[in-house]
């Protein structure tokens, strides 16, 4: 015991009192994400699921182009870096030659819903045995806030300075609903991480998505509504409220495709 009444961190750990720690599947690197960005929460949920399923040594991560381009530094698993939008094709090549591995992609809205639309549609439609984590924050974050395929109608971005005009730029794509319409897709849900309740629900979906792949049932995807305080020009708490009050009405949370075999776990 130290000479004050307050125990040190080491003393607490020594007593076996740890109730919350970094998952083994997460590295101890500092991330480059902006303050208040929810990529960190989503990373953690995936890492927790990898730990709980005991799959760290057989998991291969396919990183995207976008804000999470450097995520392979943050996970303690084998990883490759895909070209913009091509992660599902690369994951297909990995999984078809190493069917005993767990292969997942992690993609933003520009990556998955714009430049990589063909790759995600066909990977899902083939029932590719991979898991996709799709992070939808309604903007291109890495390039500093341009209009994304998921930017909401009227939303101001650096490339839609007067707000997204749907007659000019079309409508935000609801990817979970699109993918759920494909017969090869097995588990497709939309979650968010704006409060404790949605984070717990998202964690369960991540576990189910991985279990779908482990059971060889087919393609699984979890879409996350995620915050971007920097490019939304909001404080982190306001950004979380904006997800709940503005994004969720357009991108409803829910289960869009749950195959019968998967229903037992949900």
């Amino acid at each position: 015991m130290s000479d004050t009444l307050v125990p040190t961190a080491e003393e607490i750990i020594a007593q076996g009192n740890v109730v919350y720690r970094r998952p083994d599947a997460l590295s101890d690197a500092w991330t480059h994400y902006c303050p208040g960005c929810t990529h960190g929460i989503i990373h953690r949920l995936i890492a927790e699921a990898i730990d709980e399923l005991g799959i760290q040594e057989k998991t291969i991560l396919v990183a995207p182009v976008g804000c999470s381009v450097l995520m392979y530094h943050y996970f303690n698993v084998d990883a490759v870096e895909a070209a913009h939008g091509r992660a599902p094709a690369m994951a297909t090549g990995l999984k078809r030659t190493q069917p005993d591995k767990v292969v997942f992609t992690y993609q933003g809205d520009g990556d998955l819903a714009a430049i990589g639309t063909a790759e995600i549609i066909h990977a899902a439609n083939r029932g590719e045995q991979i898991t996709v984590f799709f992070v939808n924050n309604a903007v291109y974050g890495m390039t500093s806030g341009q209009m994304a395929p998921t930017t909401l109608p009227g939303m101001v971005t650096t490339s839609s300075p007067d707000g997204r005009d749907v007659r000019m730029h079309g409508y935000p794509i609801r990817m979970a609903e699109v993918i759920a319409g494909l017969p090869g897709a097995c588990y497709v849900v939309r979650r968010s991480v704006y409060d404790a309740r949605t984070i717990r629900q998202a964690k369960k979906a991540v576990l189910t998505a991985f279990k779908t792949q482990l059971a060889g049932l087919g393609f699984s995807m979890v879409e996350f509504l995620s915050s971007c305080p920097t490019n939304w020009h909001m404080t982190p708490p306001d950004a979380l409220k904006w997800i709940r009050d503005t994004m969720v009405p357009y991108f409803p949370l829910g289960d869009f495709k749950v195959a019968d075999e998967v229903k037992a776990w949900t």
Partner: protein, 365 residues
């Protein structure tokens, strides 16, 4: 194994299978489609991966993924499809994984046509993608040579962790002729897979395969490593064939099936008493220039013949460095060069240059 009658595209596919390909990803495009169809039938029989992708963009990225895992992976296509693959090829080059590609070339630009052409020479040797890199490019002249080069493609790709492109014009893909197949190469053992391959971090530190290097010094270091490797390849992997060069006063230079046609031209020219030889580059990158430079020093002139507007011609001129005059005869748009017109172009050059000094004298002036 005895010779059998093979269609070019199918022979290349079977040679790749015997060479150990574990995964084929492709997309239909004339005139290479029989290669894909052959793989569709054979690969599943052998328990290997075959997938018809949604595009050439996807095919090459599937190859990239499989190759990152240390698998012998390949795709095949024709000219417009290779254009779509340039993104993936650049990433593969930047992350130094071995991969094999077959380009059965057709007429361009644009949708062009489906007739044989050599107009992808620049694309495969110079501009296979953004950034500083060259694939190894091998150009067969016969179905047998296509088989032999295809069989060597994976060991070559693995030796240097680089891209190997087998580049043949559409006529070679479509023609049938006898060829002898090599034996089945044994599959790679786990121990033989590269110590860089991404196969799950079991009992070892994690591995990352990326072409992203945000610090300029890091990216420069990668480029310096790539350039050093390209220099090693350039020194060790030059391939060519010579015909009747010993006493040649005039030299034909041609690659692929045009090189084969030029053998007929050499024979006919020799029958007319013309001392003509042939230099046929087999590796287009690395271009086998030192030997060509030596030959340029002993002839009165060189005629380059290609089914394009004069693409290898630039490499020939760089090799020759004005040691002798260089002329060109080419056809485009999928028109095939026939022996008679090459012979006529050769006779015209000879008429022009027959009194010009032998280049060796010119060099010493």
């Amino acid at each position: 194994m005895a010779k059998e009658l093979w269609k070019g595209n199918e022979a290349i596919a079977e040679a790749a299978i015997r060479g150990g390909v574990e995964a084929f990803f492709g997309y239909p495009i004339t005139p290479q489609t029989e290669l894909l169809e052959y793989m569709a039938a054979r690969m599943p029989q052998l328990g290997r991966a075959f997938l018809q992708a949604e595009s050439e963009v996807a095919s090459i990225n599937m190859v990239y993924g499989a190759a990152c895992g240390g698998a012998r992976a390949m795709t095949s296509s024709s000219s417009p499809g290779i254009s779509l693959m340039q993104e993936g090829l650049s990433y593969i080059a930047g992350s130094e994984v071995p991969a094999v590609l077959v380009d059965i070339m057709r007429g361009g630009p644009g949708l062009g046509n489906i007739q044989p052409s050599q107009s992808d020479y620049f694309q495969v040797t110079r501009s296979a993608g953004h950034g500083d890199f060259h694939p190894i490019v091998l150009a067969p002249a016969t179905v047998q040579e296509a088989v032999d080069l295809m069989y060597e493609a994976f060991p070559l790709a693995e030796k240097y962790r680089t891209i190997v492109i087998l580049a043949a014009d559409g006529s070679l893909g479509q023609m049938m002729e006898p060829a002898e197949m090599p034996p089945m190469r044994p599959p790679l053992s786990e121990a033989e897979r590269g110590a860089w391959a991404v196969r799950g971090a079991a009992g070892r530190a994690k591995r990352i395969i990326t072409s992203l290097f945000l610090q300029e010094e890091e990216l420069e270091a990668l480029n310096l490593r790539l350039q050093a490797k390209l220099k090693r390849i350039a020194e060790a992997e030059q391939r060519w064939e010579e015909v009747a060069t010993d006493d040649a006063e005039f030299l034909l230079v041609a690659f692929g099936t045009v090189g084969r046609t030029c053998k007929t031209v050499v024979r006919e020219a020799r029958q007319q008493g013309l001392r003509v030889g042939l230099y046929r580059p087999i590796s287009l990158w690395p271009f086998p220039w030192p030997r060509l430079r030596a030959l340029a020093g002993q002839v009165r002139g060189i005629l380059v013949a290609e089914m394009n507007a004069g693409q290898m011609l630039e490499d020939v001129r760089l090799a020759v460095e004005n040691r002798c005059p260089v002329r060109f005869h080419g056809r485009m748009g999928g028109v095939m060069l026939l022996p008679d017109e090459i012979l006529a172009a050769l006779q015209a050059m000879i008429a022009e240059l027959r009194h010009s000094p032998l280049a060796v004298a010119a060099e010493t002036r």
